[in-house]
């Protein structure tokens, strides 16, 4: 199998000065490209034995007592570019609490911690590439970029596909959030359609009456194709 090269025009560039931290953290030289090798086309495999019972339930997985906030299910599928489901994919998430505060020693935002909310979860996709989490909707929070910049509500996602070359970290946003269009991090993505694909719609079909709302978030990783014609020697 051969990994499909990334279409970089749908990905944010390294240097995006509206997001100030990129200015000193972006390579100035062009990336060196080449055909994918075994190093990129293989990757770690994670089994269900690493998962704890409540690893995908962020409402309960910190202390066992329920967290405060808007109860939501986040669900979706992990697919490749050929719309094939990726089963066995490790999906890891982390997020702020309902007030926009992270449980991280470096976060000193004045909104309080929730004693019953840790803010991270993980799961492994099923045969059809599906996954789900139960969590509280994270709050927006301010960050020192522009004079008055606020991150929209978001959940960070980390994905392992079948190979290390598919490795991806991104963020899920919520339908209708007016902060999305104003966010310098969102706007590092040059293509509006690519931004729209990171916005999860409200999904009433998966909401549980008198319990929780639901949002759907599908993720697409790089595809791989069968190696059919590959007769050229390296370097030609």
């Amino acid at each position: 199998m051969t990994l499909i090269p990334r279409t970089r025009s749908f990905q944010p560039p390294a240097h995006a000065p509206g997001y100030k931290s990129t200015v000193a953290r972006s390579p100035s030289r062009a990336l060196i490209s080449g055909p994918a090798t075994a190093t990129e086309q293989t990757g770690p495999v994670f089994g269900h034995e690493v998962l704890g019972e409540h690893d995908n339930n962020l409402i309960l997985n910190y202390t066992g007592q329920p967290a405060i906030g808007e109860r939501i299910i986040v669900h979706g599928r992990v697919l490749d570019e050929f719309a094939r489901p990726i089963s066995g994919a490790l999906v890891e998430v982390w997020q702020a609490n309902a007030g926009g505060r992270y449980r991280h020693k470096k976060d000193n935002y004045l909104a309080p911690l929730d004693p019953n909310f840790g803010g991270c979860g993980r799961t492994i996709t099923g045969e059809d590439g599906s996954y789900e989490f139960l969590t509280v909707r994270p709050g927006a929070y301010p960050w020192p970029n522009g004079g008055n910049d606020w991150r929209p509500m978001h959940i960070h996602f980390s994905l392992f596909g079948a190979s290390f070359g598919q490795r991806l970290i991104s963020q899920m946003y919520f339908e209708g959030d007016p902060l999305i269009a104003r966010c310098p991090i969102v706007n590092t993505i040059p293509d509006q359609a690519a931004i729209d694909r990171l916005i999860a719609p409200l999904d009433m079909t998966r909401a549980l009456p008198l319990d929780c709302l639901a949002y759907k978030f599908d993720i697409v990783l790089r595809g791989s194709r069968q190696t059919m014609f590959e007769n050229r020697m390296e370097g030609l």
Binding site: V23, G34, P44, E81
Partner: protein, 201 residues
């Protein structure tokens, strides 16, 4: 109108942000015990049984001002000492090949303790020089940066990836320097003088 291509497009990347460690390295973020088992804390399942030479690679990730970053998270992936990737037939059962690590908050230095990888034959039967793949994410990095560690005490002359780099002095940015028995130094410079080669593979 031409025929329609029925393909999807890879989801756009976003920065891992300043709090990436709470999700991927809870102990490092000050949340020890969050998970019964954290992923990737070591590439060994059983270090005492792993085949090959155990090496320690120390380094820092420097930004464009020369500051050693304290908030980057790095993952490594590599084959075992015999050149076989974990999960493939014949791979060393004591070795997972995958590790997550981050810089120390005080020193700004990371340490990767692993086995020195073997080499494997790739496209056209060409043998690659031993290397470890790295993926670097952090606040200010919009899409994970891929690079590789090679070793100065190996024969790197015929490596197909290294030979794609036109400006030969830049090859040195991918080569770990030996500092002692089984010890190497590998610094990553995101930008400016001595900028590390990053890959789009």
């Amino acid at each position: 109108m031409v025929q329609k291509l029925e393909t999807l497009i890879e989801s756009a990347s976003q920065t891992a942000g300043p709090y990436v460690h709470i999700g991927l390295m809870p102990t490092y973020a000050g949340n020890a015990g969050y998970y019964d088992e954290e992923i990737g804390t070591t590439p060994f399942l059983d270090e005492s049984k792993a085949k090959g030479e155990i090496v320690e690679i120390v380094g820092s990730v420097f930004d464009g001002t020369g500051w050693a970053m304290r908030d980057a998270l790095i993952e490594s992936w590599q084959c075992d000492a015999g050149g076989v990737f974990p999960g493939d037939k014949g791979a060393d059962p004591a070795f997972t090949g995958h590790c997550r690590f981050a810089a120390d908050a005080e020193s700004g230095e990371f340490t990767l303790r692993t086995v020195k990888p073997g080499s494997y034959k790739g496209r056209g039967g060409v043998e690659s020089a031993p290397h470890i793949s790295l993926w670097v994410v952090a606040r200010g990095i919009n899409i994970g940066l891929n690079t590789r560690i090679y070793f100065e005490d190996e024969d790197n002359a015929n490596d197909p990836l290294l030979n794609r780099i036109e400006q030969r002095p830049r090859v040195n940015t991918l080569i770990a320097k030996k500092t002692g028995d089984g010890k190497y130094r590998f610094d990553i410079r995101l930008q400016g003088e001595g900028e590390t080669v990053f890959l789009d593979i």
